[in-house]
């Protein structure tokens, strides 16, 4: 097991290296120049060249890349090109918001998706099943940014309600914090919940037709016992895979939900940094997100063994 984990961790290194190349290249081939934006009316070719030199954006791209990679390997994420703040400091302030939002979103997705999937599978083709499946398809089809906008505008117009706008950390004002986090987490969880629901339903339908489930019923076990102890556990492996994939979706979705709901997390920082062409910040957030997704995937793989003891790692 430990050997497996170590090998997987080592294998993330080349993957991350590839990500660094892609990220570094992408932020530089995006049209538009930070120097032009900063120079405003004082733009001239000479001023642009001088400013690029000041910002460390001169020189060949491979040289810039190696310089950045060297710093990165030493844990130095660089500094914002706009206000010189260390990127690490920026991220340390914003990561808790994104982590909280992601965890809440995942929790809501599971809480919504699993029970509905189970109910739907246990009552296949019933009116309840049709309603729940339709709801899931709507959840898959409806973009979360659209739902968020609808929520904000109509809740304000019809009910005079909008979430708090002045962010409060959970340790300073838990009530305000939860009010701010609840809606974006709920709305962001719709897609993930729908995916989990459909996967749970499909897998449960497959599993409950297996011989061992029939045997369990024949033994006189209760339905709830059979579902929870025998069927669900086996059905969960693909669901857990989907859950892992949801982490990547939630991280990318945080860009939208944090922006729409005014949450000061990494997603919103990414948006403002992309618009401002603050390359070190964009690079750092992207690399960290990639690393998180890779680590979650390793975690998911390890979970398989718990869910199905027949699986062995080698």
């Amino acid at each position: 097991m430990a050997k497996y984990v170590a090998r997987r961790l080592v294998l993330t290194v080349p993957s991350l290296a590839i990500v660094t190349v892609i990220v570094f290249s992408l932020v530089r081939i995006v049209p538009g120049s930070l120097a032009v934006a900063l120079l405003g009316d004082d733009y001239s070719k000479e001023a642009e060249a001088k400013l690029n030199a000041e910002l460390g954006l001169d020189g060949a791209l491979p040289v810039q890349y190696v310089r950045w990679l060297r710093d990165l390997s030493q844990g130095d994420l660089g500094a914002s090109l706009l206000d010189r703040r260390p990127v690490g400091e920026l991220l340390a302030k914003r990561a808790p918001v994104t982590i909280q939002l992601s965890l809440m979103t995942l929790a809501f997705a599971m809480v919504i998706g699993l029970p509905i999937g189970l109910v739907s599978a246990l009552k296949p083709n019933s009116p309840a099943d049709f309603v729940l499946r339709s709801a899931a398809i709507f959840g898959l089809a409806a973009p979360s940014f659209w739902l968020a906008t609808l929520f904000l505008v109509y809740a304000a117009n019809w009910f005079g309600y909008s979430p708090p706008i002045f962010y409060a950390a959970p340790w300073s004002d838990l009530g305000t914090n939860l009010q701010m986090m609840l809606w974006p987490a709920l709305i962001s969880s719709v897609v993930g919940g729908a995916v989990i629901m459909r996967m749970t339903r499909a897998m449960m339908l497959e599993v409950i037709r297996e011989d061992y489930i029939r045997t369990a019923y024949a033994k006189g076990l209760t339905q709830s016992y059979i579902v929870i102890r025998h069927a669900l556990r086996n059905a969960l492996i693909p669901v857990v895979t989907v859950f892992g994939l949801s982490v990547a979706n939630i991280l990318s979705g945080s860009v939208i939900s944090e922006t729409v709901f005014g949450l000061p997390g990494m997603g919103r920082l990414l948006v403002t940094s992309v618009l401002a062409r603050d390359m070190p910040v964009v690079q750092a957030i992207t690399i960290i997100s990639a690393a998180v997704v890779m680590l979650v995937n390793i975690g998911i793989d390890l979970t398989y063994a718990y869910l199905d003891p027949r699986l062995r790692y080698s």
Binding site: P31, V36, L39, D41, S162, F166, T259, G262
Partner: protein, 599 residues
Amino acid sequence: MVIALGTSRSNDVGTSGNSMEGIQVTVGSSWSRRRLARRTVLRGVSTAGAGLLGAALIGCRGGGDEPAAPSTGATAAPASKAQAAAAPGKPKSGGILRYASSSAIAHFDPHQSVTPASQTNLWHLIGNQLVRMNSTKLLVEGDLAMSWENPDPQTFVFKMQPNARWHNEAPMNGRPITAQDVIYSLKRTATNEPLFVRKSQYGNVKTFEAVDDRTVKLVLSEPSVPFLATLGDVYETVVAKEVVEKHGDLKQVQAAHGGGPFMVDKSTFDKDVGGKFRRNPDYFKKDAAGGKIPYLDGIEYQFIGDASALYAALTTGKVDIGSVPPENEADFRRGNPNWQINEIKGLSRDGILLNTSKAPFTDVRVRLAISHALDRNLILKLGRGRGTLTPAVSPAMEYWSLPSAELQKYPGFRKEGDKAAIEKDRAEAKKLLEAAGHKDGFEMPMETTTAYSYNLLAETAIPQLQAIGLKFKITLLEWGVLKEHEATGNFTIAASNWYSGPEPDLHLYLYHHKAGGRNYSKLDDPELNSLIEKQRVEFGREARRELIYKAQRRQLDLAAPVWIISPGGLSVQAPHVRDYGARPVAAAWDNETVWFDKA
């Protein structure tokens, strides 16, 4: 506050807004936000984002009670007195003003900023300038300066307030703000380094001199009427040398030290999140009755980049001031019947940019054909919803802008619904094209961006141009790329928008003079250059206006850029907010006299 007036000859000025775009609203890259922005961003909630305190892209005259005329003779309108007179009742102290800013802030160094968000969200609350623009009256007024005079047309001498002091915090510890501080700040702005983006505005200053602790003397190389507007620009914050030396620059909030009406809580402040301000108990200014200002206990602002969230916050009263998109006006009124809603004109201008150095726009007949063929009223109706047809100088500056009665005589600017005139203009446009050798029209891409809803202009203009055989296909660019193309001349035709402050020279010189910083059209017309140069040194108000009128007429004959409309909007404020005007410029310093009429 009483300000002794000097004998200035050169107060026919406004302020300048030298931002690259005036204001930046964070318009995200997501489809949703752009869709929303189409109907929302420029029209109201965050039109150009200097933040809701600035309400900059939209806006013109404050409170609607005075024309946007320049000052006459010696002008230094006392801001607090003027504002106090605008609202009934005696100002009360107390309350926290809450607002949401949609403006992205790159950093806080005022002398290196290209957008005013750092000013409206920080420096205008905690700092001071030598002079500044009254953001509702459009008049230059003293701030640290209590008076000024022009001993000769090239010399400005300012007498400073005797009691002005820095906040009582290290490293200044409440020491007086001196003429040396002002000179240091002006010289810093004029630093010959790329990031000091307003240095060129001080290129005509021969000497910066602190005559004594309270006297600032500036000698120009030639007379310049708009120079006072430069000094009153929203970016000209006075900073302390010791702070710059300690921090290296002023990009981070830790370096934000001023002497203004509010003090920032640096421990909670974050440019991407928001911050809190508390009253400066030792502020040197007093109100008309000699009472202490500011009246507010503090200010809280939150950065919200999304227009729908801003609208929701306003509608539900979570913030006290802001703007709403015109299409949401009815809903807003229904839900907030007691809120004050002011219609405001805009200082920004939508226009079609034609590169006169590239064919076919080297030919003035082609440019005029485009101008003639446009039904600007229809563009206004279908696109922005609110706004005013504009010549080169925005109609928000009523005194300087060519009167609408005269403008309506020009092809393309006809009265709304005058179909006969519009058809006649289009026939004329076709003749012009034919004479220019484009009888069958031509095809080419038109660059624009969905940010700030610039695309609305292209989308509504293109079908009209098709009527005379010109086929344009929209090329959507990211906002920064479009601005880069404009700055570098890497475009042929583009639909865009530009903001400048309420000083006619900024609307004329910048965009139409051969040496103008935003002469993206590459215009170089000797007659227009001469008119623009003359108005810059004409101290007589009437005579200057006549020159400015002539320049606008000449610009209409040259049709570069093809100016279309100045977008407008709606400013709203909670019932208890007093002396907060619909602000035409990206300035927030008027908050020193805002008060709450509630227990």
